[in-house]
């Protein structure tokens, strides 16, 4: 499935080439309805996800560019959606039911209780990742430290590099991926970390000469991991255990968001060990800290996880239900969790999306009944709709 979402690289070359035509273009095409006012019936000016309610249902809100850059630079939006954002020159998200439901839970949560795990599930292309993005935006605006894994299966399926872990026997390190995640973490939380002045609780000894003393800022720990890629995995583990302790102590709030969480419980990975055998996910050093932080034994945080069919491989993709995708071990790890179903568009959402496409001049052909045709062809599935209107 992931492979079907093929991307068009090198688009910029075309656009550069065409820059010169743009000025002298005379068109004979039908011009879409003029957009004078920025607020149409399908848009909302409420850009703070904290204030979203059923009033804004099926309406688009815009994520400001700098916030989008802060949260989603290291991933978190699907590739196709990123492309769409670039084309439409604005980062718009639709306010949808599952996100509203999650926001309601998070706002009403008692943070002194152990973390509640929310599990997003749904068919392919229904918007699990974007629901998560919406909630992440809320978290970033409300001083949550974001522990965000944009797409966990990447570590199991196509790691940059795999090497044997130094300390632990039989474990596999993914130094580059761990470092990339640390960069992502720093991007998302850099400012907040500086403001909160979080300190490490114990000393971490990396090697004979290198160590991070107790009481040093958390940011220093992160930077160490980025600078010394060899220790990135260990740093990640240290960082996450620190975050757990700090948030339990009440010094910060943590929002954990892991997309494709079921990849941690997949029977095998595509990484080979020394004896040319496939490694199970629990033998990757990155798995442990993220399983640890999704456990219920800490407070002052929320966990938003998504289970996805396409995080699995051939033969394990029969159903999109959480118990099936997580398997026995995963279910026991998460139970009790709150499943949140992400469904296809409702009629209202669909209509709103079509309006948005029309407004952005993305649909240029509007013969009679085209909306019904698209509705029928896509079954109101967001991703299918996106694919269908590509060439319209």
């Amino acid at each position: 499935m992931k492979m079907i979402r093929n991307r068009f690289g090198n688009l910029s070359r075309v656009s550069v080439q065409l820059q010169r035509h743009v000025q002298q273009m005379a068109t004979s095409a039908a011009v879409a309805p003029a957009e004078g006012a920025t607020i149409n019936e399908f848009r909302t000016a409420v850009a703070n996800p904290g204030e979203h309610s059923a009033l804004q249902l099926a309406k688009f809100y815009t994520i400001p560019a700098e916030q989008k850059k802060q949260i989603f630079t290291g991933g978190g939006l699907p590739k196709q959606y990123e492309l769409q954002i670039k084309t439409f020159t604005e980062a718009c998200l639709m306010v949808r039911n599952p996100a509203l439901e999650l926001l309601e839970y998070i706002k009403g949560a008692d943070l002194t209780k152990p973390v509640v795990r929310y599990v997003l599930y749904g068919e392919n292309g229904t918007g699990k990742t974007l629901t998560m993005a919406h909630v992440l935006h809320y978290g970033a605006l409300n001083d949550f430290l974001l522990v965000h894994v944009p797409w966990a299966p990447n570590w199991m399926k196509r790691p940059k590099e795999a090497s044997n872990a130094a300390g632990q026997e039989g474990m596999i390190d993914l130094p580059f991926d761990a470092a990339a995640w640390l960069v992502h973490f720093k991007n998302q939380n850099g400012k907040l970390l500086q403001r909160l002045q979080l300190k490490t609780g114990k000393e971490y000894v990396w090697s004979k000469r290198e160590s991070t003393p107790a009481g040093s800022p958390l940011l220093e720990l992160v930077e160490h991991g980025i600078a010394r890629i060899k220790y990135a995995s260990e740093t990640t583990a240290a960082l996450i255990s620190e975050l757990k302790q700090l948030s339990t102590a009440g010094q910060c709030k943590v929002m954990v968001a892991i997309d494709g969480f079921n990849a941690f419980f997949h029977p095998i990975t595509r990484i080979f060990s020394d004896n040319k055998q496939r490694v199970t996910p629990d033998r990757i050093t990155l798995t442990q800290p993220f399983l640890d932080i999704t456990n219920y034994d800490w407070t002052n945080g929320v966990c938003i996880l998504s289970v996805d069919k396409i995080a699995m491989t051939e033969g394990y993709m029969d159903s999109y239900m959480p118990r099936y995708l997580l398997g026995q071990a995963g279910f026991e790890h998460l139970d009790p969790f709150v499943p949140v179903h992400v469904d296809n568009y409702t009629d209202k959402e669909f209509h709103s999306y079509i309006n948005y496409y029309l407004d952005r001049h993305w649909i240029n052909k509007t013969p009679q009944g085209f909306e019904e045709q698209l509705k029928f062809m896509s079954n109101k599935n967001p991703y299918s709709l996106m694919q269908l209107v590509r060439a319209l």
């Binding site: 407070t299 139970d335 009790p336």
Partner: protein, 323 residues
């Protein structure tokens, strides 16, 4: 050459004339020959002139069917005492059977192969059965008291034993199949605890039918029926008593060996208790997870996932965690 021809010509004066006049002459001459003598037939073999007439087979006149003479109130069991293929003259019924073209009546019973092909039960009329029952009554004992209804006799005799007797025209009267004994009983008639029931089912294996809740033993390994019956009863008894024995190694039954998911045995319970008793101190009363939640987790896993079970699970989790 020409002199030769003239000679021939002269020899046949008559023919010459005829050819010249163009009139056929044969018709004039033939009657003269007939008159002279009769045509003689060549008789190579001596054939007897007169035919021998075929001898007529003397048949008795067809007697009218017996049914004409039957009294209206005759004893039918005497007329048709035993199984027999259909005979039209003996059956006083206007039967018709067989295919015809549309509109025509079906062939009557006389000389009707269709009626003879099919089996008949004319010897098993209700009066005949009644008569025979009366006749064998003197050999029967009275029906036991207290077993009037099916429910009652099933309660008193839960085990059903099935054997088969064979009659055959072989030199031997034994039949190998006659030794086979089948006993079956409802599992609900046996008293078990949870462990014993589980173990009994494992011992019995595919002899238990889940749909009908019956256990069936079929024994045929001994040469005599009596021995097989004893063996079947022994098996039942042994399995029953063995199921109550708990071996020391049974304590090591792991989760993978379980037939059903039990909330009590699982990680889910520990996790739920851990969450509910998060801020509790040592010595406080432990809050245990609500039974409704336990039930819906069991349902989710035992029945398999579907939207309904998952929605129910969600509701219960939300209730338990106060979200």
């Amino acid at each position: 050459m020409s002199t030769g021809l003239t000679r021939v010509w002269e020899r046949l004066p008559l023919k010459k004339q005829a050819a010249q006049s163009g009139i056929r002459v044969f018709s004039q001459q033939q009657p003269e020959i007939e008159d002279e003598e009769e045509f003689r037939v060549l008789n190579l073999r001596t054939v007897k002139q007169q035919f021998q007439r075929r001898r007529e087979v003397r048949r008795d006149p067809v007697t009218p069917p017996r049914t004409n003479r039957m009294a209206v109130d005759q004893d039918w069991t005497a007329a048709w005492p035993a199984p027999r293929s259909f005979h039209p003259a003996s059956v006083p019924l206007p039967l018709r059977q067989g295919f015809t073209e549309r509109g025509a009546a079906a062939p009557s019973k006389f000389a009707n192969a269709e009626l003879m092909k099919i089996p008949n039960f004319l010897h098993l009329t209700p009066p005949a059965i009644r008569q025979q029952c009366e006749a064998i009554k003197k050999f029967c004992s009275p029906w036991p008291k207290g077993l009037e209804t099916e429910a009652k006799w099933q309660r008193h005799f839960p085990v059903e034993v099935i054997t088969t007797d064979y009659l055959q025209s072989l030199p031997t009267i034994r039949n190998l199949e006659a030794r086979r004994v089948t006993i079956s009983l409802k599992l609900s008639d046996l008293k078990f605890d949870a462990h014993a029931r589980d173990k009994f089912l494992r011992l019995v294996g595919d002899r238990y039918n889940k749909d009908t809740d019956t256990v069936t033993f079929v024994t045929d390994r001994c040469p005599l029926r009596k021995q097989n019956y004893d063996y079947a009863m022994y098996l039942l008894t042994a399995c029953y008593h063995e199921s109550f024995v708990t071996e020391p190694w049974e304590a090591s039954k792991s989760e993978a060996d379980m037939e059903v998911y039990l909330f009590e045995r699982n990680q889910s319970k520990i996790a739920a208790e851990g969450i509910l008793n998060w801020s509790a101190k040592e010595g406080d009363n432990k809050i245990s997870p609500p039974p409704a939640y336990a039930q819906c987790v069991e349902q989710l896993i035992n029945e398999g996932e579907n939207e309904y079970n998952l929605a129910k699970y969600k509701e219960e989790v939300k209730k338990m965690l106060n979200v």
